[in-house]
């Protein structure tokens, strides 16, 4: 009986990962793609996306949920890249230049986002999502109207023919894959962008180290219970703002790494779905609104992107249309976010119900487990 219960609990807690794994494994054979191809794609996509997804970790530690406001950081990185292309700065130096230009902008954006989220405690995710739409409007205004008119743009190749505003698509030829190609190794027939992975590794080390610092501990305390943290002397609002600032700056760097790998930039919508895909990836990896770790990021990026690679081909082979696979990708992305949020809310309710049951005279173990689950859920909702 207890074995059945623990198995059931395991399935409940890992429902998203298990469903995703099953879907992925089921989609591989009909896709007809070789393992060699899928593994190479995974290596490329891990390098391209992992940094962006890692940017989500700190706000989760601070109990602010999934930072949909990371789009603000992505926009800052894009402004850095536009300026690098404008001044014709190429190679790794061009990427570093873009990162340096993007840093103060993303710090400012992160501060604004953090301050707004502090006014909307308990509704951080939806507030971040809507804030991203608002700042997107500001970004469009700056890039479409102010660049070339107020901010001088000297490269005619990136300016709209009317004389101001940046073109829809920018060719990032000067910085294309410059980080990936910096140290490309061929191991067993697979090309591995070592420099990109080193940077991702450094960020992982930073995250592990940061959790052990005073600020990191403060963030975890705030994430666990804001009231207790405040009473213990932790500056809650300031800590939350710092978490969002670091996340936004990391998102800015992540977007630059992402775009250098892609080689071109859709000026007005490259950032649109950045947060959406990053959030989907971390949730697929088994993270929740309250809890996330580096393995969740790695597993999530791999699982989500294996599915992204195989579904169009599987759709083509099974139904005669690759578009089915494309729709399926979209459906999976949104579906996984919805499923995780629903499961999270359901678990919170179950925990609260168990706690109530315990207080009414059920056994103390049930009550303790229920209280713990309810506490976890409450903390996440804060």
């Amino acid at each position: 009986m207890s074995g059945k219960k623990s198995l059931g609990r395991f399935f409940t807690e890992n429902a998203v990962v298990i469903i995703f794994l099953a879907l992925t494994i089921a989609a591989i054979p009909p896709s007809g793609l070789s393992f060699q191809y899928i593994i190479q794609e995974m290596i490329t996509r891990l390098g391209r996306n992992t940094f962006l997804v890692l940017a989500l970790l700190l706000p989760i530690f601070a109990g602010m949920g999934l930072n949909f406001g990371m789009t603000l950081g992505a926009m800052s990185g894009q402004i850095g890249l536009i300026l690098a292309i404008n001044w014709n700065i190429g190679g790794v130096e061009g990427l570093l230049f873009a990162a340096l230009v993007g840093t103060p902008i993303s710090v400012l954006m992160g501060y604004i986002c953090g301050a707004v989220l502090n006014k909307a405690k308990g509704r951080e995710m939806v507030t971040g999502y809507i804030l991203a739409f608002f700042i997107n409007g500001v970004y469009q205004f700056v890039v479409l109207y102010m660049m070339g008119s107020i901010f001088p743009i000297k490269n005619p190749a990136i300016v709209l023919s009317r004389g101001y505003g940046i073109r829809n698509t920018l060719n990032l030829e000067n910085v294309r894959q410059s980080l990936d190609d910096l140290l490309m190794l061929k191991v067993g027939g697979f090309l591995i962008p070592v420099a990109t992975f080193l940077i991702i590794g450094l960020l992982c080390v930073f995250v592990v180290w940061f959790k052990k610092t005073k600020l990191g501990q403060d963030m975890r305390a705030v994430g666990h219970d804001m009231t207790v943290a405040e009473a213990a002397g932790v500056p809650v609002d300031r800590t939350r703002i710092i978490a969002i600032i670091i996340s936004t700056v990391l998102a800015s760097f992540g977007q630059i790494i992402f775009l250098q790998n892609m080689g071109n930039m859709a000026t007005y919508n490259a950032h649109d779905q950045t947060s959406f895909f990053a959030v989907a990836a971390i949730l697929v990896g088994g993270a929740s609104v309250k809890k996330a770790s580096i393995p969740n990021v790695i597993i999530g990026v791999i699982l989500l992107h294996v599915l992204y690679v195989v579904t169009p081909r599987a759709g083509q082979n099974l139904f005669g249309s690759a578009m089915i696979g494309e729709y399926f990708r979209q459906f999976i992305g949104y579906g996984v976010i919805a499923l995780t949020l629903v499961l999270y809310a359901w678990k919170a309710r179950q925990g609260a119900a168990r706690a109530r049951e315990g207080l009414r005279g059920g056994n103390s173990a049930t009550a303790a487990a229920g209280t713990a689950a309810a506490d976890t859920a409450k903390g996440g909702a804060k």
């Binding site: 700065i89 190429g90 570093l96 479409l144 023919s161 505003g165």
Partner: protein
């Protein structure tokens, strides 16, 4: 209650912050200088006044020790370089003559036309600023030419030629 900060600490804090800003600005300038791209158009044509002609057999031109490209009389070749100091090595295809020139560029010189006959003969100026006549853009950008509230995607399909200043 407002926290009182020791003036010494405040000064030290200010100094550290100022130093960080200087380092940040220095890094931006450094990246700008190191990563600035320039384009060389290597021109192996006879001079218009007929005073110098391109080497008959053609030349091998290498910039900064990179793989050399073959440029025959009447041809042009384009090379992108990073940074402001470069070495151009021109070797005749027969292998008899070799000329090495070290050049430094201004930060704002985007595209430079290098005349190989002049460079080989050591006749100044062998390098001049090259300004492209026009830039061809696709009409997808055209919707923005008026001030109406339309998306830049809403353009036609034919190319538009705009003059550059």
């Amino acid at each position: 209650m407002k926290q009182v900060i020791d003036p010494k600490v405040r000064t030290r804090r200010l100094l550290v912050r100022a130093a960080l800003i200087v380092v940040f600005a220095g890094l931006v300038v450094l990246m700008f200088n190191l990563g600035k791209l320039h384009t060389f158009i290597l021109d192996n044509k006879n001079l218009a006044d007929g005073s110098l002609t391109a080497a008959r057999g053609g030349n091998l031109v290498s910039i900064d020790g990179r793989e050399a490209s073959e440029i025959y009389p009447g041809e042009r070749s384009m090379e992108k370089v990073k940074g402001q100091r470069h070495t151009i090595t021109v070797t005749s295809l027969s292998g008899t003559d070799k000329v090495v020139r070290r050049i430094s560029l201004d930060l704002d010189s985007e595209m430079m036309l290098v005349s190989l006959p002049r460079l080989i003969a050591g006749k100044e100026p062998y390098m001049e600023v090259f300004v492209p006549l026009n830039v061809v853009t696709t009409a997808e950008e055209r919707a923005g030419t008026d001030n109406s509230f339309t998306s830049p995607e809403a353009g036609g399909t034919d190319p538009v030629v705009i003059p550059t200043p």
